[in-house]
């Protein structure tokens, strides 16, 4: 089943066109790493998927259901809020800056969305949250506030928080870019674990080594379009496009 499908998606902020016609289809269980220079539209593409941004043109399907459609920057389709909400909760998102809720303990960070969005029973939500926290190796930190955790720990809590909504697709927007180098490994390990469990993942990253190891497909974006895509070997080791080569030369 196609989990995510973008058809000729464009996105402009005022006069600045960030996405210039992106076509992408992601299958269930696929791990897709997206690389590219900053400003190439990687993050914007992810943010369009869960309606943090609304597209200017094109179509987006989540699990083969239309989630956003627009032509020529007008006539945005009205999708009923319940559908949008259920589509968006199928997409978990992990942010570069973690964005944990600082006024809530680690456990409450993980349970709050199931409790108020899904109206889950408190006991059920807490049991599940503890499972997720032990999966990311942080069950002993459940009563701490986020400010007491390291960046790597915060990001792992953020992953548990996103997983608590039972997403079918996990999106990572440069999840290790704000971390000290020695903390990157623990977050990547958690993500690797998720990939092994068969989670469909869309990962915007600068960690080329990680992409090579876990990605089923690597996408190189440049100037608002997908410039090159293929297996990690194809794109990272034997890039065909000049732009891919020069980007990889710069960062490796």
């Amino acid at each position: 089943m196609s989990m995510v499908k973008l058809v000729n998606v464009r996105k402009s902020f005022g006069d600045l066109e960030v996405l210039k016609g992106v076509n992408l289809e992601v299958q269930q269980g696929e791990v897709v790493c997206i690389i590219g220079a900053s400003g190439s539209g990687k993050s914007t593409m992810l943010r369009c998927l869960n309606h943090l941004e609304r597209i200017s043109d094109g179509e987006i399907y989540i699990e083969d259901v239309l989630s956003d459609k627009r032509a020529n920057n007008k006539d945005q389709i009205k999708i009923d809020p319940v559908t949008v909400q259920s589509l968006c909760t199928d997409l978990g998102m992990v942010f570069q800056n973690f964005n944990l809720f600082p006024h809530l303990t680690v456990l409450d960070n993980v349970t709050i969305a199931p409790l108020i969005v899904k109206k889950e029973d408190k006991k059920v939500a807490e049991t599940r949250a503890l499972d997720l926290l032990s999966m990311v190796g942080l069950s002993q930190k459940k009563d701490e506030y986020p400010s007491r955790l390291s960046g790597g720990q915060q990001q792992r809590v953020a992953i548990a928080r996103a997983l608590a909504m039972d997403p079918k697709i996990m999106m990572f927007d440069e999840p290790t870019s704000a971390l000290d180098p020695e903390l990157v490994g623990e977050v990547l390990a958690t993500m690797r674990q998720l990939a092994e469990k068969g989670m469909t993942m869309l990962i915007v990253t600068h960690e080329i080594g990680f992409a090579r190891e876990v990605a089923d497909r690597v996408i190189f974006m440049d100037g608002g379009v997908i410039c090159e895509e293929g297996t990690p070997e194809e794109v990272l080791l034997n890039p065909k496009e000049e732009r891919t080569k020069s980007f990889l030369n710069k960062i490796l």
Binding site: C88, N99, L100, F101, P102
Partner: protein
């Protein structure tokens, strides 16, 4: 020294002062949230109404607002219906001070909400929360600590501004003591008034400092 009658009069004056300040801060905080959300709203009508409200009540003297409610409204009513009625001065004071405090607190609350990092709203939305859920569970609770200090400030201002009610036939702390001073020709009553004001504002300061520390517990 004070006679028992004077003591009771000063006590009653203090109660009037306290009542008005406390009613105003409570109503002001509650309606302040509403007006602040209006200012932040994308709805043009809500936005314009809130803007107008703050513009009027911050831009005119509190004393004028008090006069309008206590003196002007009964006259307007009389002209319109031919029926006379009087507003209880205490009610007029409650209303005027609450309306005024709402305007100031709305701006304080709006600024506090806007000071919360935008990533918080995005994270809440990405988890499927509605705007309302994100506001009530994520954004507004994070403003509490930032609101304590300006709220204490506003309460102290209100407490002192209550002396304006002497103009609408209310005996607050200051008017009570002033009356005694003019009747006896002694300045000592002003010292009593100052002492009581300082006593009350000190309590407010201490309580709000404690509250701020307690609410900031999640910050390292």
């Amino acid at each position: 020294m004070l006679t028992e009658i004077q003591l009771w009069a000063i006590f009653n004056g203090t109660i009037v002062t306290l009542q008005i300040a406390i009613v105003a801060i409570v109503f002001g905080a509650v309606f302040g949230v509403v007006v602040a959300l209006g200012r932040l709203s994308k709805n043009k009508v809500a936005n314009a109404l809130s803007w107008f409200y703050i513009w009027f009540f911050r831009g005119t003297p509190l004393l004028l607002q008090l006069f309008m409610i206590f003196y002007a409204i009964p006259i307007i009513y009389l002209d319109a219906t031919g029926i006379t009625f009087e507003i209880n001065p205490m009610i007029a004071a409650f209303v005027a001070f609450s309306l005024n405090a709402t305007a100031y607190l709305a701006e304080i609350i709006r600024a506090a909400i806007e000071s919360i990092d935008g990533g918080q709203m995005e994270a809440a939305k990405a988890l499927g929360m509605s705007y309302r859920q994100a506001m009530t569970k994520i954004i507004i609770p994070q403003t509490y600590k930032r609101l304590v200090a300006p709220l204490g400030n506003e309460l102290i201002m209100l407490l002192k501004d209550t002396s304006l009610v002497s103009t609408i036939a209310l005996f607050d702390l200051l008017r009570t003591t002033k009356t005694m001073a003019s009747a006896t020709g002694s300045w000592i009553y002003y010292i009593y008034a100052a002492a009581i004001y300082l006593f009350l504002t000190t309590i407010i300061q201490v309580v709000f400092d404690k509250m701020e520390k307690k609410l900031g517990i999640y910050e390292r």
